[in-house]
């Protein structure tokens, strides 16, 4: 590893001081003069026509300043991807319980709440469908009868509720199945998951004297919010300024426009600033979560190697298409090289809260399926599960699903590291006859996120540098970006100022999500730093009448290589630049995409299963991840640990419970939706593998998404190792484990034949 002065150091977060003293300002902390409170009226019906809405009584309540309904917005659809399938507020129909129908701005929350109760909405019920497998059946209740007319719709196959059908094919799958020694088929199900961000969604809006709209948002994607908000309000983008506030956790939930349009329109209507703060219940009933998936995998094995995979994945997307279905094709192979494949992924509408993003939605579900399936195959073949994975693992040069070549990576190193640390293979035993212990592994794969990234660095007269990017800080990314800038420019961390930003100040930048900040945004910062360095050297060369090649930039100075005392500090150069030909020094960089760089990790869980209750306890959790280079090891470990604990929650306790008839969320509170607490969790162990990526800044790879993928499969595999039962349904609850121990049929049923038939009939 090269010698770094700033990278690979656990520098404290640049925003730590504000956060530990309570000074960091989150959107809910805003108090603007004259600010009103906003409350939302939502649909109590799963699917209904809105016959009429009468807001007159609410409007007359003293303290109420404005009331809006869907008809107050321009009649435009929008969507979270290519498919434009929704209104920002219901107009003629509601599609799920919890869909916003009206909003009130009043002097305080109590008055706004009171006003909601005075709004009369007359509904006419329509049939609803809640189960995605029911929605797939022919003759099923139709969620959106106008689906074929939606802009961006192009999948007239699979049934009336299929809003997207993605596919990927390679080689001759049928031939491979024909020639296989063994064929394995399994169906898995994953549950609905709430992102669990601690900060409920909040936002505020104000109309400025010049007519522009300022929006304060808790968001990972200020430019996405700006564009979508302008769209639904019928404004031009340039008339909207989004100020991203401190982000109290998002994990994908805050990537796009959320509720900002409501206070915005109320601010326009009332002439006052308006703030909306979600309750915790609303975070469960109105914020797009991860929705259930059903995944069927069929795999051919010949001579111990996987030769073909057929996958059918059904992603429940709720009322509107969002994240998920892409992974049904993109991640159906897992971390393995499989020459022949046929991959199908369905997005299916149901009358439930629409799907949102959550830490690589879909991939986590695919990983549970693929890694459980791998274990099942290994056991049936009688080979060691880790060896079977090692043999089939992706190698440098292999083609990924989309055709990109796999570059150099540390997958094998992660496997080896886990094997050595745990002494695998091994059999765990328990002295307690009521308990059994087991160990399970899982490999995870992801790719480093790409997308538009920009950065600029200006040099101040005192030798500090100001770094401006459009990205929102997420899990310490500002600190890591500052470290990249400091390393590339040869200055100390203390010399880097990370500028406050908003959409007026910084150029367009992709959202902070999908593990893209360090890899892509970090690359832009590194390039901007190099541009800055070049300009500093050029100025010094001009002043010293030397060639630039004779100079170096390090230690906060530009100096003559052969005579280091001769040179200038950055502060001197910045001051000289004010009167130089080129003017003040500013380095910039921009990029739109980055090459394919996968990220791999190996996870292992040790569990204790109580044979009497089915209770599973994780006693040890180990992960080894190839991070390329650890820009900030403390921050990297924090990502890995946080991700694993989210994954353990998904594995064992978390599940959104829907009423099977109405789709109403039945457990919308933190007392009934069970996220991991400190008392439940093992001390997670991390091993950082450093195989530099060819393209990332200083060789860095993405970090944040994959740690959450592994736990459900690693734990399910450990349960199998402990007690010999296979749970294919999440969470791995005591009830399910016990049912399986009692020999009950716990298999997931999905009619894959019907999907194959529907696909064959596709024109």
């Amino acid at each position: 590893m090269p010698e770094y002065t700033v990278l690979e150091h656990s520098h404290p977060r640049v925003d730590a001081w504000e956060k530990v003293t309570g000074q960091a300002t989150y959107a809910a902390d805003l108090h603007l003069p004259g600010m009103l409170a906003c409350k939302l009226l939502t649909s109590p019906r799963s699917h209904a026509r809105i016959v009429s809405i009468d807001t007159s009584r609410a409007e007359k309540l003293p303290g109420v300043r404005a009331v809006i309904t869907g008809k107050d917005f321009p009649n435009t659809h929008f969507g979270s991807g290519g498919l434009k399938d929704r209104y920002i507020m219901a107009r003629d129909e509601v599609y799920y319980i919890g869909e916003p129908v009206a909003a009130v701005a009043a002097d305080d929350e109590m008055t706004a709440q009171e006003a909601l109760e005075l709004i009369r909405v007359e509904y006419q019920d329509l049939p609803a469908v809640v189960s995605p497998l029911d929605a797939l059946k022919s003759g099923a209740t139709v969620v959106h009868s106008d689906l074929p007319k939606f802009e961006g719709y192009g999948f007239a196959a699979g049934g009336p509720n299929v809003c997207t059908l993605l596919d990927a094919d390679r080689g001759d799958v049928e031939q491979a199945f024909h020639e296989a020694d063994h064929i394995f088929e399994d169906t898995f199900r994953s549950q609905g998951i709430n992102q669990g961000f601690l900060e409920p969604m909040a936002c505020a809006a104000r109309v400025e004297p010049n007519g522009r709209l300022t929006v304060w948002a808790s968001t990972q994607g200020p430019y996405q919010v700006r564009a979508q908000l302008a769209g639904v309000l019928g404004m031009t983008i340039s008339n909207v300024k989004v100020i991203p506030m401190e982000l109290g956790g998002g994990f994908g939930a805050k990537l796009r426009l959320a509720f900002e349009a409501f206070p915005a329109l109320l601010a326009i209507k009332s002439g006052h600033p308006v703030k909306l703060v979600n309750t915790r219940e609303e975070a469960f009933t109105m914020n797009g979560p991860r929705l259930p998936t059903h995944i069927h995998l069929k795999t051919a094995v010949k001579d111990g190697r996987i030769t073909a995979r057929e996958a059918h994945s059904v992603f429940d997307v709720g009322a509107y298409l969002g994240a998920g279905p892409n992974s049904g094709v993109g991640h159906a192979l897992g971390a393995y090289h499989i020459p022949n494949f046929k991959l199908r992924s369905y997005g299916v509408y149901t009358n439930k809260l629409y799907v949102g993003s959550y830490r690589a939605s879909g991939v986590a579900d695919m990983t549970f399926a693929v890694e459980s399936h791998m274990d099942i195959i290994a056991h049936k073949l009688g080979v060691d599960p880790l060896d079977f994975r090692t043999i089939n693992a992706v190698k440098e040069g292999d083609q990924a699903v989309g055709g990109a070549r796999t570059p150099r990576n540390g997958l094998q190193e992660t496997i080896q590291a886990v094997k050595e640390r745990l002494g695998l293979p091994k059999k765990l035993t328990s002295d307690n006859p009521n308990e059994a212990r087991g160990v399970g592994v899982a490999l995870c794969e992801w790719r480093s996120g790409s997308g538009p990234s920009t950065a600029s660095i200006s040099v101040n007269e005192d030798g500090t540098v100001s770094l401006l990017t459009g990205s929102v800080d997420i899990s310490g990314s500002d600190t890591s970006l500052a470290q990249i800038a400091a390393e590339a420019l040869g200055v100390k961390m203390e010399q880097v100022i990370v500028a406050e930003r908003d959409t007026d100040l910084a150029p367009f930048t992709g959202p902070s999500g999908g593990s893209r900040i360090i890899y892509s945004q970090g690359k832009a910062v590194q390039m901007a730093a190099e541009d800055t360095r070049k300009k500093l050297i050029a100025l010094a060369a001009e002043r010293l009448k030397l060639s630039p090649e004779a100079l170096s930039c390090a230690g906060g100075r530009v100096y003559v290589q052969d005579n280091p005392p001769q040179g200038f500090t950055l502060g001197q150069l910045a001051r000289q630049s004010l009167t130089s030909k080129g003017g003040p020094i500013i380095g910039t960089a921009a990029l739109s995409s980055m090459p394919y760089t996968p990220v791999f990790c190996t996870h292992a869980a040790e569990v204790v299963v109580d044979k009497g209750t089915g209770q599973v306890r994780v006693t040890r959790y180990l992960q080894a991840q190839d991070v390329g280079v650890a820009i900030n090891p403390m921050s990297v470990e924090g990502q890995l640990e946080g991700g694993v604990v989210q994954g353990i929650g998904r594995a064992l306790t978390e599940e959104i419970q829907w009423d099977p008839n109405t789709g109403k969320v039945r457990n919308p509170s933190l007392a009934t939706y069970l996220m991991p607490l400190a008392v439940d969790m093992p001390q997670v162990e991390n091993i950082l593998i450093r195989v530099p990526s060819p393209d990332g800044p200083f060789g860095a790879r993405a970090v944040a998404e994959p740690p959450g993928f592994g736990p459900p499969a690693a734990i399910a595999n450990a349960i199998y190792d402990a007690v010999g039962v296979r749970i294919k349904d999440l969470p791995l609850s005591p009830e399910r484990v016990l049912a399986a121990l009692q020999g009950k049929d716990t298999e997931i049923k999905m009619d894959v034949e019907a999907l194959r038939r529907a696909e064959a009939g596709r024109g």
Binding site: T21, A28, Q195, L247, G638, G642, V645, L670, Q683
Partner: protein, 160 residues
């Protein structure tokens, strides 16, 4: 109808008006504009609103402001001594005990409450003491490390 009350917050006597149903959390945030204390649920389930009430860590969303009349309240804003952080705050900074920071004020107050009662806790006792504080970002490893380190630092200071 708002009624007057008086609470000593971070050593200062504060007199203000609050509705009878107003929680201590809302009073701190909306009446006194001390927004460091966070509202994650308003139902007693997340711990983000933890403050010290007469030296005890409590979830301020479950305390009525008027029931805290004439009490002593310490919030996260009251811990640092000008530019000098409280040892628990410093340990959170040094050990990476925070990410998004939304749970952090509550966790820090729980930790301060714990260390007042039990200056030398075991890892298990720390995990138990913060058992009512949800954190979605960190996975708790570094939070626990930070609190143990703070205990150590405070002990060392006492000895010195």
């Amino acid at each position: 109808m708002k009624k007057p009350l008086q609470i000593t917050v971070n050593g200062e006597i504060r007199q203000f008006f609050a509705e009878p149903y107003c929680s201590l959390l809302d009073a701190l945030r909306d009446e006194l504009l001390l927004t460091g204390t966070k509202k994650g649920c308003d139902e007693g389930d997340c711990g983000a609103c933890t403050v010290l009430l007469n030296g005890q860590a409590v979830t301020s969303c479950l305390v009525l402001a008027h029931s805290a009349h004439d009490s002593q309240v310490t919030t996260v804003e009251g811990l640092a001594d000008h530019q000098k952080l409280h040892p628990v705050q410093q340990a959170f900074v040094d050990h990476g005990g925070l990410q998004c920071g939304f749970c952090t004020p509550g966790l820090i107050m729980s930790a301060v409450g714990l260390l007042q009662e039990n200056p030398n806790p075991t890892e298990e006792e720390v995990r138990f003491a913060i058992g009512g504080n949800l954190c979605r970002c960190t996975g708790y490893n570094k939070v626990v490390e930070a609190i143990l380190a703070a205990a150590q630092a405070m002990q060392n200071k006492l000895k010195a």
